[in-house]
């Protein structure tokens, strides 16, 4: 079984009442869903945490370069 490029695959299930169940979510998929499901606070919180971590990484990288 090959799994080499599975990092980019997420599984999205949409229930009849509009709820979205997401498995194996990548950051890009979370961002996409956030742009559609604008009122979802759990999604917003998750993306905020990822972006904060990203900024911290970038700041550390820049410090090392300086």
């Amino acid at each position: 079984m090959s799994f080499a490029d599975e990092s980019s695959i997420s599984e999205i299930n949409i229930l009849p009442d509009g709820r979205v169940c997401l498995f194996g979510a990548s950051q890009q998929v979370l961002e996409l869903l956030d742009s559609i499901l604008v009122g979802d606070q759990a999604l917003k919180h998750r993306i905020k945490c990822l972006r904060t971590a990203e900024q911290t990484d970038r700041a550390q990288y820049n410090r090392v370069r300086l």
């Binding site: 599975e6 990092s7 695959i9 229930l15 194996g24 919180h45 998750r46």
Partner: protein, 284 residues
């Protein structure tokens, strides 16, 4: 500082020390509470059918885990000691022959790949990693590129099995699935579930970071969910609890009448409110 002594990290030194002890379970397996005692090296098979190798059937960086852990590089090992009718991994996750052989080289590659995608940690999931502890310890012992390690398990392992992991795991994630033995027997085919899982949770909690997960099952609010949060509030009130509301009927779930439909929205909301009322640390 990674505590290197003679070219290996202090964690690797622990892993090397544990390896021989762990491998003894391949000769007489007591890694999980099925305690089948089979000789996996000579080809005997227990319930999980695992041999003396571990295989990874999926590997990817995910952002759907607990917020403090994401992004996380997940390694899905094939083979499991339970048969939960609603398993989202379905048949692939039960077949220990599925996937690529786990080696130190492979683990090193996955650590590098994970870091490239900004993963904060490497996470062992299944199937069930407990049945592959010797192969995992061997892979970790030969890998000096380690990120922090997360162990996501059904917690149906033995005390001896968990002892092999002492000092090697940064975060344990326990799937606390059932709040009584009758449901565990009927849906996952396992005996003495509650006693084993609660014992292991109590043992691990003082030693390492622990997060407990519970997937809300339709029709199991009173029989499973309530006993779980009652137990948590009594014995592990400060351990974070992740209540998952995204149940979908997968694999053989439709064999059980109450598991045929997704969880109703309002059930999830009221369950979370109940846990908060009890003062539990409910996390996302």
């Amino acid at each position: 500082m990674d505590g290197r002594i003679g070219g290996i990290t202090s964690r690797q030194a622990v892993e090397v020390e544990r390896l021989e002890l762990a491998r003894q379970h391949y000769r007489h397996c007591r890694l999980c509470e099925r305690r089948c005692g089979v000789d996996r090296i000579s080809g005997e098979q227990g319930f999980c059918k695992a041999g003396s190798e571990a295989r990874v059937y999926r590997c990817r960086v995910e952002c759907g885990e607990e917020v403090e852990l994401i992004p996380s590089q997940l390694l899905y090992l094939s083979g499991c000691n339970l048969r939960c009718a609603f398993c989202i991994g379905e048949a692939d996750s039960f077949d220990p022959q599925q996937g690529q052989l786990l080696t130190s080289g492979f683990l090193t590659q996955m650590n590098v790949k994970g870091r490239q995608q900004r993963a904060k940690n490497i996470q062992w999931v299944g199937g069930e990693p407990t049945i592959h502890i010797p192969a995992i310890v061997a892979a970790m012992a030969g890998c000096d590129q380690q990120m922090p390690v997360v162990w996501k398990s059904n917690f149906f392992g033995t005390i001896e099995g968990f002892a092999l992991l002492d000092g090697m795991i940064d975060v344990f994630i326990a799937d606390f699935k059932f709040g009584n033995d009758a449901c565990a027997r009927r849906i996952a085919g396992v005996d003495e579930y509650v006693q084993v899982v609660t014992r292991n949770l109590s043992q691990v909690a003082p030693k390492a970071r622990l997060i407990v997960r519970h997937l809300l099952l339709p029709g199991h609010l009173e029989c499973c969910y309530r006993p779980i949060i009652d137990w948590m509030s009594r014995y592990l009130p400060t351990v974070p609890l992740h209540i998952m509301t995204g149940y979908l009927p997968r694999w053989q779930a439709t064999r059980h009448r109450e598991l045929c439909s997704p969880l109703k929205h309002e059930v999830g909301d009221s369950a979370i409110a109940l846990a908060k009322e009890k003062g539990l640390d409910v996390i996302m």
